[in-house]
Symmetry: C2
Subunit: 207 residues, 2 copies
């Protein structure tokens, strides 16, 4: 019995996440979660007061995991076009990843019961990325603040939302990704992203 405290807590979170993603909130049973976490229901309830609290903990946990994927890595280089394309490509890829899609569906499914969960999740993902993009435009390209924000929103609208929305509704093939890997994979076509980035930069610089 080496697995105590945080270790076990993490195993529970991970197992619970799998079960919630696979079955949805209501059909996910605490019995199954305990089984997958290789522990007992009694212990589950020692760590999490009830199913609702466990669910919220999972949203938070996932938020953290996703945020870690969405940094602006230094090794994207100094060329803004190139760096922006890589960043956007990687973000798009992360968001159409089937695990992300299922997580979004889960939070959306329960948005009525847990409005804060959905809103926080959204803000943590989309808000953060939008801010990072705007900051990059402002700092590296000396674009004025309000223009930078508008440009970031616009860029995301063109690149992300169409494919993301389609993926949400299951209208795109499922995307499986590795947990590591910092470069966009073959699941995203960089060509339209390059075009959108180029156009955004041109417009932003012109003002």
């Amino acid at each position: 019995m080496q697995r105590r405290g945080d270790d076990l807590r993490d195993r529970i979170l991970s197992a619970a996440k799998d079960v919630f993603l696979a079955h949805g909130f209501d059909r996910a049973s605490m019995d199954l979660i305990a089984e997958k976490a290789d522990t007992t229901k009694r212990t589950l309830y020692a760590h999490f007061e009830n199913k609702e609290k466990l669910f919220l903990a999972i949203i938070d946990y996932t938020r953290g995991l996703l945020a870690a994927r969405l940094k602006f890595p230094a090794d994207y280089g100094d060329d803004p076009d190139h760096a922006l394309v890589l960043f956007c490509g990687r973000f798009l890829e992360t968001m159409i990843w089937n695990r992300s899609i299922r997580m979004c569906r889960l939070t959306l499914a329960e948005a009525g019961r847990f409005p804060d969960g959905a809103a926080l999740f959204h803000e943590a993902i989309f808000g953060t990325v939008q801010d990072r993009l705007a900051t990059y435009l402002r700092e590296r390209l000396a674009v004025p603040k309000s223009t930078a924000t508008r440009a970031a929103v616009d860029l995301l609208g063109r690149i992300l939302y169409p494919r993301f929305t389609r993926a949400l509704f299951g209208a795109e093939p499922e995307v499986e990704l590795r947990d590591d890997a910092a470069q966009p994979s073959e699941h995203v076509d960089l060509k339209p992203i390059r075009a959108a980035v180029a156009e955004t930069l041109r417009a932003a610089r012109a003002r």
Copy 2:
């Protein structure tokens, strides 16, 4: 007892939709649906084999209701800029309407169990609107087909997805609409739509 056949069937569908939207698939009880439809569970099961079939019937029913809102009315006038702005504004408004949002969340919540439901729903809404936009551009403005499609996708990306996605996650205030009314209401700001339409038209004509 004047309400037989289709009449009753419609009452059931409407009541079931309310209950599903309010509680989600699993927490919606057939007892409550029967009560709201002012009938009995036995009759419910006479019209719909089981809960799943009822759910799918509701998706289809709603699809029809939404599609009816998304026509390109003749009274939008002959000026393409103006007509496109009205059309896009009305589509945006319809999609951030809280009933639409809840319906989308519902289909997304069950996308795992009913993949066809979600995909069909998506196609019926977004696919149809995209087609109508592209057709309009092609027919009224003589834009070549592939360009028209690209322009339509782009336009929707800029106008719709950002607000729609935010609304999905509950990051925008709820929008309540009247069932009738063919003009966009005060819930959508036409200014950014005008800009996007103008830019789209300029780009489409240039090619």
